[in-house]
């Protein structure tokens, strides 16, 4: 770690925060603004809350002599995305009351409330607690919501992975006193330094996922710490530990880049929490605290080396890791419609854009009111109704209808108008973008599985766009980077083929790619693999060759 540099501003805020309290109570009581103080904006995150404002209205409201239309996004902690049907109905009711009637399922298997008024935050969080749910540690420099293979009821192995996920989630929660004091209003609690994280928590956000081959639905290479479950003799025998993934980067900062996680070693399932503890501690103590753009585990690993890390982690665990063993994924994605597995017969419900609101939400609630079994949110922001009743069939089918093959795999992040980081449209742009490239697909290809299309409004990569076979990353209003060649199994990043371009140019490149795919495809070759091969061979030009001097930066 770079110990000589000055800690970043956020490190100071954390250390002064009195265990995440800051001046939150005062900020919440401050009635003349819908905002909280700038420091409290940072601290809110540790409680699962992001301050946002409606960016569509910023200018307009400035002229109206009004402050920005501030509101809050609240993200639930939901390891593996599992909810009881009563919890789902309860959440929907809370959204109606406090969240403008809108829920957003996320690509990390959880649920977000949006448009929450500052004055409603306490009621909302208390309402969640009454449902047995909370939002602790879903943002901020701590371990975030843990992803497990979808869906946890598919087999005993899935169930075992789910249990590990839950154990990890529980083990690394930040100390609850501020949450209980400020939001749950349970009276004053003593201010104590977090016994695990210490006074300044982690240097940066930390994400954990668990996957069970052959389905890489969680995109297990995309996070800081990951466990791949290996089944031997019909028993979850061991876990491959992957570290140092992370897709986020900054445009125009060459020191940043998307990384895939690499194997650190193997452990037994019962060691998962101990491994996680050691990795978190190692990152806590070695991560860069002076430059947030270099603070994630992937940079720490790059700086200190995998060898050194394994050595330190083993020392922290007091146990050795086994060497990594090979494993393979064949696909990723959800089952949609009716499907069966060891856990029974389920229904995979496609949710357009992961957005539940208005009539759609009401109709879904009416169905779920008649469904007693769990509901699981998938890594593609869809829903699986576990052991659903066949009687619900027609109503479920009628909800959003079956998606087109391209839409079924597509994802877009929330982005504008609420996400403060957004550089370009995403959720609102997806439908029109999809329909345009779907017609190009029709015109050139017709047969074969269409590519997975993913858009994010900025390089933070919430919906893992550089792992989409067609990946768009926002760079400015109406401008995107285009990535092709990512593996449909989530184990290879896409390559930049257009940088900061408008739709017209992007579509031209995609059309070119589709035409090449039609003519050059090897038997059964998926689109992403084909593109990768063509990029290797130079048949498909990368961006430098295509538009000399045309792209900025």
């Amino acid at each position: 770690m770079n110990t000589t540099s000055k800690p970043s501003e956020l490190e100071v805020i954390k250390s002064k925060s009195r265990a995440l309290r800051g001046t939150l109570a005062e900020s919440l009581a401050h009635a003349i603004t819908g905002a909280v103080s700038p420091d409290d904006v940072q601290l809110l995150k540790y409680h699962g809350i992001y301050m946002q404002d409606d960016r569509d209205l910023r200018d307009e409201r400035l002229h109206q002599k009004l402050e920005p239309a501030y509101s809050y996004m609240v993200r639930l902690r939901l390891p593996g995305g599992v909810l009881s049907s009563a919890q789902f109905l309860g959440i929907a009711e809370l959204a109606r009351r406090y969240g403008a009637g809108s829920l957003r399922l996320t690509s990390r298997e959880t649920v977000q409330f949006h448009h929450v008024d500052k004055r409603a935050l306490r009621s909302l969080l208390q309402g969640c607690v009454a449902l047995g749910l909370d939002s602790r540690g879903t943002c901020g420099d701590v371990n975030r919501n843990v992803m497990t293979p979808h869906h946890p009821f598919a087999s005993p192995h899935h169930q075992a992975m789910q249990e590990l996920g839950e154990a990890i989630s529980r083990a690394f929660l930040p100390e609850p006193s501020a949450y209980e004091e400020v939001f749950l209003e349970r009276g004053q609690r003593p201010v104590t330094v977090d016994s695990f994280y210490g006074p300044v928590y982690l240097p940066r956000k930390f994400k954990i996922a668990l996957a069970l081959p052959p389905n890489n639905d969680v995109d297990v290479f995309a996070y800081d710490l990951n466990f791949v479950g290996l089944v031997e003799d019909d028993r979850l025998a061991r876990l491959v530990v992957l570290v140092g993934g992370g897709l986020s980067f900054s445009h125009d900062d060459a020191r940043t880049a998307p990384y895939l996680a690499q194997a650190l070693g193997c452990c037994r399932p019962e060691q998962a929490v101990a491994v996680a503890r050691a990795v978190l501690l190692w990152q806590r103590d070695h991560g860069d605290r002076s430059d947030r753009k270099q603070a994630r585990l992937k940079y720490t690993v790059a700086r200190l080396g995998l060898e050194r890390m394994r050595h330190d982690v083993e020392e922290l665990m007091g146990a050795a890791l086994e060497d990594p063993v090979p494993f393979a994924f064949t696909h990723r994605g959800d089952h949609l419609g009716w499907f069966e597995d060891q856990g029974g017969r389920h229904y995979g419900l496609f949710v357009p854009g992961g957005r539940l609101e208005g009539n759609g939400l009401e109709r879904l609630c009416a169905v779920i009111a008649r469904h007693d079994e769990p509901i699981c949110i998938s890594p593609n922001h869809n829903i699986t109704l576990v052991r659903a009743n066949l009687d619900l069939s027609s109503e479920l089918d009628a909800l959003w209808g079956p998606p087109t093959p391209m839409a079924a795999q597509a994802m877009a992040c929330v982005s504008l108008p609420t996400c403060p980081l957004a550089m370009a449209e995403s959720e609102r742009y997806l439908p029109q973008f999809l329909s345009k490239i779907a017609s190009l697909w029709q015109a050139h290809v017709v047969q074969g599985r269409p590519p997975s299309v993913r858009i994010t409004g900025c390089p933070n990569g919430c919906t893992r766009s550089v792992l989409g076979e067609v990946g768009l990353v926002g760079k400015g209003p109406g401008l995107y980077n285009l990535y092709l060649g990512a593996s449909p199994r989530g184990d290879r990043l896409g390559r930049l083929v257009a940088e900061g371009q408008q739709e017209e140019h992007l579509l031209a490149r995609i059309e070119e790619a589709f035409a090449l795919f039609a003519s050059q495809r090897l038997a059964e070759e998926p689109f992403g693999d084909c593109m990768n091969r063509l990029l290797d061979t130079g048949l498909l030009a990368d961006r430098a060759a295509v538009s000399p001097g045309g792209a900025a930066g």
Partner: protein
Amino acid sequence: MSDPEHESSTPLFLSGGRSGMALTPEQRRVVDALCHELTPEQMIWLSGYLAGAAGWSSQSQSPPLLAPQGAADSQSLPVVTILVGSETGKSLLVAQHITRRLEEAGMVAQLRDLAEYNPADLRKVPYAVFCVSTHGEGEPPLPAAELQSYLQASKAPKLDRLQFAVFGLGDRSYPRFCQFARDIDERLVSLGAKPLLQRVECEGDHEQQAENFAQALSARLLAQGQAPRLEVVPGRGAARHLPTAAMAAERLLLSGRGASKAVYHIELQMEQNPTYQPGDTLHIQPCNDPATVAALLAAMGYADSEQVQVNDVTVSLHQALLERCEITTVSQSVAAAYGQMAGVNALTERLEHETLPLEQWDVLEMVRLFPPQRLTPQGLVDLLRPLAPRAYSICSSPSTHEGEVHLLVEQVFTPPGRVGAASGFLATVPVGNMLQGLSWHENPYFHLPQDPTVPILMIATGTGIAPFRSFMAEARETGRRGFHWLVFGERHFRTDFYYQREWQRLLKEKVLSRLDVAFSRDGFGRVHVQDRLMEQAQLVYGQLQEGAHVYVCGGEAMEKEVRQTLLGIIQSQGSLGAEQAQEVWRQIEKSRRYHRDVYGG
């Protein structure tokens, strides 16, 4: 002065010159004689002396040389006491006019504000003239509260030595027109006082009626033998009244997306540099909507070209309805007059037996619901009320927004589908257009306290926040350092927090010391400004004890509840009995520390 050219004729300046200030022949003789006696130096000295003397007299001080003599005389003269009960300053204007006229006629007139007047003195004075308005629902204006309770008390004294006259101001769109003037008049008679004149009930055109009243009054008093005597009694500065024009320089919809009302910030570039004070109002003479006028003409079956008389001037019927007649509102008396004159018996009968939703009607609606049996164009114009100017609180400050006047205007849409005459016009006037017929009006009872350290508590709902923007802009500019506390109520935080950014900045700059808000329809409890006052009862009481001035602006019903709340706070925080609390409150009102400017619901 021995210049031969001027020997035979009177010098120009002595004849009063072109300005027509002629001396009486007797005076001229004295001056001429003097001129012959005096040296040029003496004459120059005298001219200075006379000019000085003129200044003294207008400042109400007797010239020192004459004082002893004059003072002795004025003691023995009967004084006419002019008593004013005014909230928005109109009665005060009338009273000042009357005072001036009586003085010009050589009488001793003394103008007193009822807020500071001890009603028991009515037993001692020979002549009292009441200039009073009516507020609330037929209630006395605030400053007259004490007079009201004094007169209405069962133990009210006989006032049989008092002669009096009443000039009432009111508005016929309220059911109890000039009620307070009537109450005083009747009660004084029943207490034995003798009316000098018939009571005047005045709506609009105050100046002309005040003039008529003053002439009648001085004639009556002179006939009673009130000796002419030159003495001028201090009065307050006259309200500014001159019509002027302005350009609409900016119009912003302040109501955020999804708001349930449309409230506009309007900036006017005044043609003449405005000379208002924070708290004053701008009056706007509206024009009616041409489409509505056309529809009304069609409904009545009249041609545009019909000629009618309005105030002795002949204009086209179309123009009269457009510019001269109130057609957006229908009062009880207008409806009654229409029922009678148009021979609509059904309307007349229903008016007698039930409460019709007149506030939902405009004249067109009335005509459609109750078509006329007979009515001439002249008859229609005569029965309608004159189109009155609308008042808007000025929300700019002269020291900050030079040459400009800002308004905060809610576009009135009641009932749905119709727009208010003035607010509808202001909400749509294109930027760059000229507006005619504006005048600013002094609102002397809604000004900041003279002493810049006195704390102020400002309470507003809706557009009632307007004058407080002016107050705080002024405070910022002048460095006023009292405790400045604003309590504001509206429906929605997100859309109806007018000037939110400005308030935030003023708080940061510590010009505004405290801001409490009550947004009533956000689903966090139906809270109102008075609830915020209750929550801060201790602070409110503390401020009152520190001598705070309280300003309330906005809805009438709100003001009433706020007043009750303040009274309650005084009682509970001061551990006082109801009577004692009332007394404290009376003192606050009496010392003019409670100011209100209220309108509508």
